[in-house]
Symmetry: none
Subunit: 402 residues, 2 copies
């Protein structure tokens, strides 16, 4: 694996364009042992034709057996070792709802929970999965909590989940979670993991004490926990690492947020794949690297909707010729992880990847699918290796060593 | 590679069962370039049928080119990076003879050697490979050595090899070996590699001085060396890492010992593969993970007995349906390393591996053998990745990152 320091050392300016096309949760599984995966079942004449001119392979997002969340999956695609660079859960929650997180903010994921009114012990870590409207009303209530010297933001996310952000001077991360991860125990206090975080811990604990008073009558959501208390991780920035002007096109806030953390410029777009392609065309002249994200493959996979996932892939296939007509120098098509419809969740399975560029050795793979890609010329690779390969094929990396 | 800390973080309780079937030294080589390997030559209808429903591949135990001993080969299978976690030679020698090593014991492998009576220089590092009975008599003699404040154990192993264990308070490892690794030099003193081991070094040196007096008339075994002076390495324990109740079934003490060091419960069994399968059936309900070890594939390989190794593989194939009938959720079949009959020793060659579970992509491999596995869907992997893959396929790993 070439790390980011090596990339920074070898990257050169250029006129070539790299296109990273990410179908979220692309990898799948057959329903019956002899059956096709979602991608294999889909009618994809354009992807297949591109595969026939490309190098294909199977890629591991993080490590064998590891099912990545959206953060690690995308960091790996952007060339960041996801075991080294982590985005805290609180930050991801903020990105997911499009909250405008500032570098010095400290963000926590909040979970409403049920406490036994007599003992104070947790009886349900998700407060009976209260409806989103109830969560929103409770967040409204919690907004009245004031802390000395800092601003607080409480935003509903979904059902029992919310976002808490503290903004002000002298705030630090390095804090423990309050969720004991099992029922029958009380919520834990926030503890500092390093001395400079002591004051921030105290603020979170003050907030929690107030919150519990305000929630006392709100059974089953009469308590709450804070998880993944974190700051913007201050990632090395892609434009500096790769000497690329990077544009990100995504319909969901989470992916725009991760791209922004990595230093990409987020390009405003609409709701559909067609909107995303239009955005790509409109900004084609202004960037050297585009990350274009298709969300619904993952959504249908999580729903367990094999046919629905097939249709999203086929939809993407239809717009592909219009994308390729822009004349990119390097095209990668893959996903951030697998989301097999039969598994209904992110999974650890390798996922198909295709790399097209001028200077490749076509490998005889004629169909873009998991099994055909097993025999591809890229072999079994890792997501973090894709950006160095893209850079090399774009003629944007100088020689290493004399 | 997902390390043990990551496994500990992601592992969850479950009801699924993982079965790790290890044919020691499974990997082989063809006798003539066009010929089959031992596994390919064997008639294995049951393994082949399982392979056809599985993902297959070739796995490297430690690193390309490295021929592992039994310790590293098995540690890697259990998910421990064998370059990071080491079991000292003295400890392995103790495990190999079924010595009940305690965590605070310090164990050394002893080698009887021949010293020139006049100069005291080593003339034969193996004392002319004295018969095992002679070694046993000499050990009996050495048992009379008394050291202040510690108990000593001297156990014959084979020919010129023996085990020396010191038991008592305040003993440390971190000690040099006495064997200069060449003839024409004197045995070296035991030296401490860290200050707290100084007293232990002194005790070993006292023991050696006494031993040399007692052996003076025992030409050609008129001297001895100590190697690999070590303690129980205090490995992280599998039940805590993986949240699995782990049972080990092996006919040889060495493998039971390594399993025990890793935190498995060693299940009493007999001498044959059939005995091992009976043990597996008897304990099926009580464990989530079973390590079942077949020794004789390696023994026949070391003997250079190609046909004998084929027969052991065929024997295993016959009992396989009875094992699969138990209904495991994940099955891995592989070995700890290759022991090709033509090489007559542990070797560095990748070895075939098969992973069966519900959530896989069958890869078209129809025969369990080295060449068919080259085209398998697991590709070329590493032993340390097998446990994370087994855990994932058993549904026992949560998502990494949000």
């Amino acid at each position: 694996m070439a790390d980011l320091d090596l990339m920074r050392e070898l990257a050169t300016e250029g006129k070539t364009r790299i296109l990273l096309l990410v179908l979220d949760g692309l990898g799948g599984l057959p329903v019956t042992p002899d059956g096709p995966t979602e991608l294999e079942a889909a009618h994809t004449p354009n992807l297949d034709a591109l595969a026939a001119r490309s190098m294909c392979g199977l890629s591991t997002p993080v490590a064998p057996g590891i099912s990545p969340g959206s953060g690690p999956g995308h960091l790996a695609l952007f060339g960041y070792d996801p075991l080294r660079y982590e985005i805290g859960r609180g930050v991801l929650e903020a990105l997911g709802i499009g909250f405008d997180l500032q570098p010095a903010d400290v963000a926590a994921r909040g979970n409403f929970c049920t406490l036994d009114p007599k003992t104070g012990l947790i009886t349900d870590r998700r407060a009976g999965r209260i409806p989103t409207e109830v969560g929103a009303r409770l967040c409204e209530k919690l907004r009245q909590i004031r802390l000395p010297g800092v601003e607080t933001f409480v935003e509903p996310v979904q059902e029992y989940r919310f976002l808490l952000v503290l903004r002000g001077k002298g705030l630090y991360d390095g804090l423990t979670e309050t969720d004991p991860q099992q029922v029958g125990k009380p919520p834990l206090p926030v503890e500092p993991l390093r001395p400079e975080a002591a004051h921030t811990a105290e603020l979170f604990n003050q907030w929690l004490a107030e919150a519990r008073k305000l929630l006392a009558d709100e059974y089953p959501a009469n308590g709450c926990n804070l998880r993944g208390i974190a700051r913007d991780p201050g990632l090395p920035q892609m434009p500096q690492i790769y000497k690329l002007r990077c544009g990100a096109i995504a319909t969901y806030p989470m992916y725009r947020g991760v791209a922004k953390l990595a230093g990409m410029e987020v390009l405003p777009t609409g709701e559909t794949i067609e909107d995303e392609v239009e955005t790509l065309k409109a900004h084609w002249a202004n960037y050297d690297f585009f990350f274009l994200h298709v969300k619904k493959t993952d959504s249908r996979g999580e729903d367990g909707d094999f046919e629905g996932k097939v249709k999203v892939i086929e939809h993407f296939d239809e717009v592909l010729p219009g994308i390729l007509a822009l004349g990119p120098d390097v095209v990668i098509v893959t996903g951030d992880h697998s989301t097999p419809a039969v598994w209904k969740a992110h999974s650890w399975h390798e996922l198909p990847v295709l790399l097209w560029a001028r200077y490749i050795r076509p490998d005889g793979v004629k169909q873009f699918g998991e099994r055909p890609c097993m025999a591809g010329g890229l072999g079994h690779i890792h997501h973090v290796d894709l950006m160095p390969l893209a850079m090399a094929h774009a003629g944007r990396l100088t020689k290493f060593g004399a």
